[in-house]
């Protein structure tokens, strides 16, 4: 199976785009064929992903399935892809979520109805996301990172709500603005490194070297550029304003993919690129990142309390949850990074699921205004039950997926990396703890308004149908994951830890002095 080891990643990344091109060739009228091709392409990619899992060496924390071929030799950028314990969970999550999104859409397509175009964009998006997670070359990373931008822009702009044009342009420009600075940072990294290289592995080795290759002042500036690029994507507190608009306006599958995966590109960028390559600069910036993270947690939660729109509420809750992830990263400890990756996966599963349910609710009630919703548990009890379950997971109830990540993240900030102010980070921990309380508060408030109580009069006479077949199929895996990750967090922690620990030994050993 040697060929599989060298081709698996490329296959998984590019099968979706091939599927997308096939879809493009099928006439619009043959809707059924289009849907089948879309589903088959995404499932084929998932099967390759399962193949990767089956051949994964669980004890090896290094890169696996590595391919390093020349690509743009003129600018010394290579087609260097691989997976390790940090990227593997995100890679698999992406494969799963896209399949589920396509299944979910099977019978309800957002207006204006065009399965051809939507599937084309989703598959293109999948290639971009998968590519970002496997790239070990800055340029390759950047290309895939940007490739995700266009499909999401169209998904929001074409199938979004009333304010879709505003939301899509805001989304696009914010991200492009950030990535412009990111690109400047990448170029600076290239020209300040000796020998010039875009290779993330080599640059990380430089970053971990005893003698800093990149001067500390330059490092601070470059880190700032990368920070802008990644923090906008996460999104972190002052740069988050595009997120509620994008989420609220996007169609259901758009919101799900955006929440479950696209936001992770930012945090993943921190873990994969910014920290290992510029550990000293990361150390200097860490307190600020931590501060913004906890502001995000508190601010996101408070905003949630003020929302009336269900999707907007979930969007703001994302700001808070990603704050926990960033707090974990800011501690610069193996525990914190592990927590961050777990948090990303958990947020992907749980918030993705929340958006699914919110979409289904919107479809049934034709409104997302929480003051007009209510009584889901009595009118559509099964969906109400699912909603309650994922909301509990989101608020961080132990034994569900939301808990381990956030708890570990706070644990990590109790004992941040050497050289970081302990008292400061403990302060952050307390603030984050307050955030969890607020989170519980708004989630319960939301449940009370949406799930409990009486069915509002305007829907009294209507028959609201409960969960349908495509919804069952697409939700079951996520619900299983929500529970499984809560009970067996080691499912993810074991994988990530095997890579995070060696990374820290190699990179942060000199930079922070252990």
């Amino acid at each position: 199976m040697d060929w599989f080891d060298s081709w698996a990643l490329s296959l998984a990344v590019f099968i979706p785009v091939v599927g997308a091109l096939v879809i493009l060739a099928i006439p619009k009228a043959r809707e059924y064929q289009i849907k089948v091709v879309g589903l088959v392409a995404s499932i084929a990619a998932l099967i390759v992903g399962i193949g990767i899992l089956s051949r994964w060496n669980w004890d090896d924390g290094g890169y696996q399935f590595e391919v390093n071929k020349g690509w743009l030799s003129a600018i010394r950028s290579n087609y260097h892809i691989a997976l390790d314990g940090i990227s593997l969970p995100l890679f698999i999550l992406t494969l799963v979520i896209v399949v589920l999104c396509i299944i979910y859409s099977w019978n309800h397509w957002p207006e204006p109805r065009s399965p051809k175009m939507l599937l084309f964009l989703i598959l293109l998006l999948e290639t971009g996301m998968l590519g970002t997670f496997v790239s070990l070359d800055l340029i390759l990373f950047f290309v895939f990172f940007e490739v995700t931008l266009l499909p999401m822009y169209f998904i929001i702009g074409i199938w979004g709500g009333e304010q879709r044009i505003y939301a899509s342009i805001k989304f696009f420009l914010f991200t492009l603005f950030g990535s412009a600075f990111m690109l400047v940072g990448f170029l600076a990294l290239f020209f300040l490194s000796e020998p010039h290289t875009f290779d993330i592995v080599e640059l990380s080795a430089n970053g971990g070297a005893a003698a800093a290759v990149i001067s500390s002042t330059a490092g601070l500036w470059i880190f700032a550029g990368l920070f802008l690029g990644f923090a906008i994507k996460v999104p972190m507190f002052p740069l988050h304003t595009w997120l509620p608009d994008a989420h609220t306006q996007a169609p259901t599958v758009g919101s799900v993919i955006l929440a479950a995966i696209l936001l992770k590109l930012g945090t993943y960028g921190f873990v994969r690129i910014a920290l290992p390559i510029l550990p000293q600069a990361a150390h200097s910036w860490a307190p600020w990142i931590g501060l913004l993270a906890v502001i995000g947690i508190i601010y996101g939660s408070l905003c949630c309390l003020a929302q009336t729109d269900l999707k907007r509420l979930i969007a703001f809750s994302s700001v808070g949850h990603m704050g926990f992830v960033m707090l974990g990263i800011a501690t610069l400890t193996p525990v914190g990074i592990n927590a961050a990756i777990f948090g990303m996966i958990a947020h992907g599963v749980v918030t993705g699921m929340l958006f699914f349910v919110a979409g289904s609710i919107h479809e049934r009630y034709h409104t997302r205004d929480m003051s007009r919703l209510g009584g889901m548990l009595s009118s559509i009890p099964r969906m109400g039950g699912v909603f309650v379950l994922v909301a509990f997971a989101s608020l961080g109830l132990p034994a569900l997926a939301g808990f381990p990540g956030e708890f570990t993240s706070m644990l990590a900030s109790f004992e941040p990396a050497g050289g970081l102010s302990q008292s400061l980070f403990r302060g952050f921990m307390i603030a984050a703890a307050v955030g969890t309380v607020l989170t519980a508060g708004y989630m319960l408030y939301m449940l009370q308004r949406v799930a409990q109580g009486e069915v509002p009069g305007e829907y009294a006479g209507h028959h609201l149908h409960d969960i349908e077949a495509p919804e069952y199929v697409s939700w079951t895996p996520l619900i299983v994951l929500t529970v499984a990750l809560g009970i067996f967090p080691s499912l993810v922690f074991n994988v990530t830890n095997s890579s995070v620990v060696p990374m820290f030994e190699q990179i942060f050993h000199h930079a922070i002095g252990g």
Binding site: L72, I158, I169
Partner: protein
């Protein structure tokens, strides 16, 4: 003494000017065709297309020779150079002219102004551009510039019955003549300062450091930069661009926007990098400033436009700024990036204007943003192609536009000019906004706001085979250069080294 001793005819280096000869010759053939018997101008177009291809074959052969044997040479007493740089750009001019010919036929038939002379003038103009690419003497630079410009003035005014076209031609003529005069002034000053118009000789003089007085040379340099700055439409010498691009027939604009820029940059690169290389520290800051205002000016002013042709005009100004940054970086990587950018730009701009020409319909009535409302539903293929070119121009990865911007910025980063780099990236984000807005109109705004006119219900656009070929070519190369740009990057790299 009336009869002087016989002039010894200089040996003619036919290979050195083969591409230009072929283009000029084809133009003459077209004129003769018209004189003998007026046939459908489509035949003239066919001859012109064959001519550009033939010229391209010769240019390719030149390229092969100078790169494999690595013997760049000067020809005709140093009037023109045959080196990687010239062969590369001569080839690019062939591409631009070929696309210009292909896109013209359908348009001019539709407008009822198809006259075969169009193709002759287009080829003459391309011939001037090729001379410009090869020019190694300031006099040659000037003559080539006049040849290409005069043809373009006429082509801009081609639609005699359309006052917009007339106005465009007149404005272009006036400001073009003005810029030519400034360039000529600069050439005179450089001659005054060095005693030669030969760029290679000029460089020797500076390296021997026997220049009488740098003041004269510096003044001349500024004038030359300003004069050529008009041609490449750099801010603040861009005022003519929006009016001319808006008024001139769209296929002409496509050709003008690509060809005239190639020629202008060829002249600028050659004069500065060869003749005035010794003054790099003087012209570099100038170019940095010019590049910054051009990028920002083009991008910001484009936002205010509601006419698509005008918007693309400002976008082409912004592109000129990005190309300038490559030269302003003063590095080989930057120049390589700029050359790559020129090629990518030729395909993008020709394709974009090609689509706009089709969508504008007879009489060029539909060019405002509102006319593009919901274009995707009405013309799905054309709208998608246009959106693709817009994203390419915005520099989205996967298209040649991204690689081009990236290659240029690489040079800038190599020179550690972080301010220029940051301004460049920010400008590219700003420019993304107005490209996006057109996409929004085409894809996302089916409903008509109050007080706005419903887009006219029109039959589907018809496609002529030549147009299809041109659009397929432009789309193909825009993708190909975006995903596998290695070959062209290598070529561009060789083109910079073999000066």
């Amino acid at each position: 003494m009336l009869i002087a001793d016989a002039i010894a005819a200089p040996p003619s280096d036919w290979w050195a000017i083969a591409p230009q000869l072929v283009l000029g010759g084809t133009a003459v053939v077209i004129i003769l065709m018209i004189c003998v018997k007026r046939v459908d101008p489509g035949w003239n177009a066919l001859v012109a297309a064959v001519g550009t291809v033939a010229s391209g074959v010769f240019a390719w052969e030149q390229w092969r020779q100078v790169t494999t044997d690595a013997n760049p040479r000067l020809a005709y007493s140093g009037m023109i150079a045959v080196d990687g740089f010239s062969a590369f750009l001569v080839l690019v001019v062939c591409v631009a002219a070929f696309l210009g010919v292909l896109l013209a036929d359908q348009y001019f038939k539709r407008e009822g102004i198809d006259r075969g002379e169009y193709y002759a003038l287009l080829l003459f103009s391309a011939c001037g551009m090729q001379f410009m690419a090869a020019a190694n003497n300031l006099v040659m630079v000037f003559v080539a510039l006049e040849l290409l410009s005069i043809c373009l003035y006429v082509l801009s005014a081609w639609n005699r019955d359309d006052s917009r076209s007339q106005e465009a031609g007149a404005k272009y003529l006036l400001l073009g003549a003005y810029s030519s005069a400034i360039l000529l002034f600069g050439i005179a000053l450089l001659y005054g300062g060095t005693g030669t118009t030969n760029l290679a000789r000029m460089a020797e003089i500076f390296s021997e450091n026997v220049t009488r007085e740098p003041g004269l040379v510096l003044l001349g340099m500024v004038f030359v930069i300003v004069g050529l700055g008009f041609k490449i439409a750099a801010v603040p010498f861009h005022m003519w661009t929006p009016d001319v691009y808006q008024g001139a027939p769209t296929p002409v604009v496509g050709f003008m926007a690509s060809g005239a820029k190639i020629a202008g940059f060829a002249g600028l690169f050659r004069v500065l990098e060869t003749g005035l290389a010794a003054f790099e520290f003087d012209w570099q800051p100038l170019l940095v400033g010019l590049a910054i205002v051009t990028m920002l000016g083009g991008s910001i002013l484009a936002i205010a436009q509601r006419d698509v042709k005008r918007m693309l005009a400002y976008s082409s100004i912004a592109h000129a700024g990005f190309i300038l940054t490559g030269l302003a970086s003063g590095t080989a990587a930057g120049v390589r990036g700029a050359l790559f950018y020129l090629v990518a730009y030729v395909f993008m701009i020709a394709g974009a204007f090609g689509v706009v020409a089709l969508l504008a319909r007879r009489g060029e009535r539909y060019t405002s943003l509102d006319d593009y409302r919901d274009m995707f539903r009405r013309e799905p293929v054309l709208a998608t192609v246009l959106a693709f070119f817009l994203f390419a121009m915005a520099g989205i990865p996967g298209t040649s536009g991204f690689v081009a911007k990236f290659a240029v910025f690489t040079g800038v980063a190599d020179a550690h000019q972080w301010v220029l780099l940051t301004v460049g990236t920010v400008a590219s984000v700003i420019s993304a906004y107005f490209y996006l807005r057109l996409v929004v109109y085409m894809y996302m705004r089916p409903e008509v706001d109050e007080g706005e006119a419903q887009p006219a219900a029109l039959p589907r656009v018809r496609w002529a085979p030549a147009t299809v070929v041109a659009l397929v070519l432009t789309v193909f190369f825009t993708i190909q250069l975006g995903i596998l740009p290695q070959g062209l990057l290598d070529m561009a790299g060789k083109a910079t080294l073999l000066f």
